[in-house]
């Protein structure tokens, strides 16, 4: 299992994932060899799966982001499977989440501008299978995005 040293390493690592390992060792208060060994062990156990660069879509010309909250027709036994399979075919869908609650599935959809979004919405989203209700939240700003765990 993980101990306090592992958690301390991860706490500093997730706060600055691009830091050099010597700096990370310093901040976590361990030697470089301890750091390397601990990280290797956490990788081997699948606790630390890797690191992803987060794409800044507006810089690539996708300035609109909409969160679509979907309720599915649950009388259809394959509603979830069919819907998710079809949503994967839409390149502008960058996130698919399923929920327990009022909302069944949420899609994050990006578009170049509102006209593009409207087109996507009509031709690719409303045509997805088994939708019984749908509402949209339009992103205005991201105020916190680090997704760190309170370790």
């Amino acid at each position: 299992m993980l101990d306090d040293i592992d958690r301390r390493i991860l706490r500093h690592f997730q706060a600055a994932p691009e830091s050099a390992s010597a700096d990370l060792a310093d901040r976590a208060g361990v030697t470089s060899s301890t750091l390397a060994r601990r990280l290797e062990r956490m990788r081997a156990r699948g606790v630390l799966r890797g690191a992803r660069a987060e794409i800044n879509w507006p810089v690539l010309g996708y300035t609109v982001e909409v969160s679509l909250r979907v309720t599915l027709d649950k009388t259809q036994p394959r509603a979830f499977d069919d819907f998710i399979e079809a949503a994967r075919e839409v390149p502008e869908v960058i996130e698919i989440q399923t929920f327990l609650g009022q909302v069944d599935v949420r899609l994050s959809v990006i578009a170049r501008d509102m006209a593009h979004y409207q087109d996507l919405y009509r031709s690719r989203i409303l045509t997805l299978p088994h939708i019984s209700d749908l509402d949209a939240l339009m992103h205005v700003a991201r105020l916190k995005t680090d997704e760190t765990l309170p370790l």
């Binding site: 690191a51 800044n56 991201r142 105020l143």
Partner: protein, 152 residues
């Protein structure tokens, strides 16, 4: 908007999967020399193509088995300061993301907790007490999948 070709788009996709991939390995994958790959990556980074790097951790193995999305509506708009709410909510350690949205809610929060009782504690003690909070709607995350996006 910056000028990009197929190789740039491929590099962005590859780094989105593995931010730690070396310029040498990426170069081999896309038929570039190591220095050429490095120069392209540097140019993409400098253009701001990446918001940052995020560790991919097994949350459940670290003791966080519950992720909840909260839709928050502020109570008395105009009388509460959005800045006060934003500053206070961003300071809650269990709150992973805060998004200002237009629609049924004013804010969308991603919250992690150890289990449902722990989530209830965070909700009652730290979130319902934030300045200006009106109604809160919660959905527990069951599964999540990030897609590569429209990069050809």
């Amino acid at each position: 908007m910056m000028d990009m070709d197929e190789i740039d788009r491929g590099l962005i996709r590859a780094l989105a999967q593995d931010a730690q991939a070396s310029a040498g390995a990426l170069g081999r994958q896309f038929g570039l020399s190591q220095p050429a790959a490095w120069r392209r990556i540097k140019r993409l980074r400098e253009a701001g193509v990446f918001r940052g790097v995020r560790l991919d951790l097994d949350k459940a193995a670290l003791g966080f088995s519950v992720t909840v999305f909260l839709g928050v509506k502020l109570a008395t708009k105009g009388r509460v300061s959005l800045e006060d709410f934003e500053r206070a909510v961003a300071a809650v350690p269990e709150v992973q993301t805060v998004e200002h949205v237009l629609g049924m809610y004013d804010y969308r929060l991603r919250v992690v907790a150890r289990d449902i009782p722990d989530f209830e504690r965070v909700l009652r003690r730290r979130l319902m007490t934030l300045p200006g909070v009106g109604s809160v709607d919660a959905n527990v995350l069951l599964s999540e999948e990030r897609r590569p996006g429209p990069l050809g």
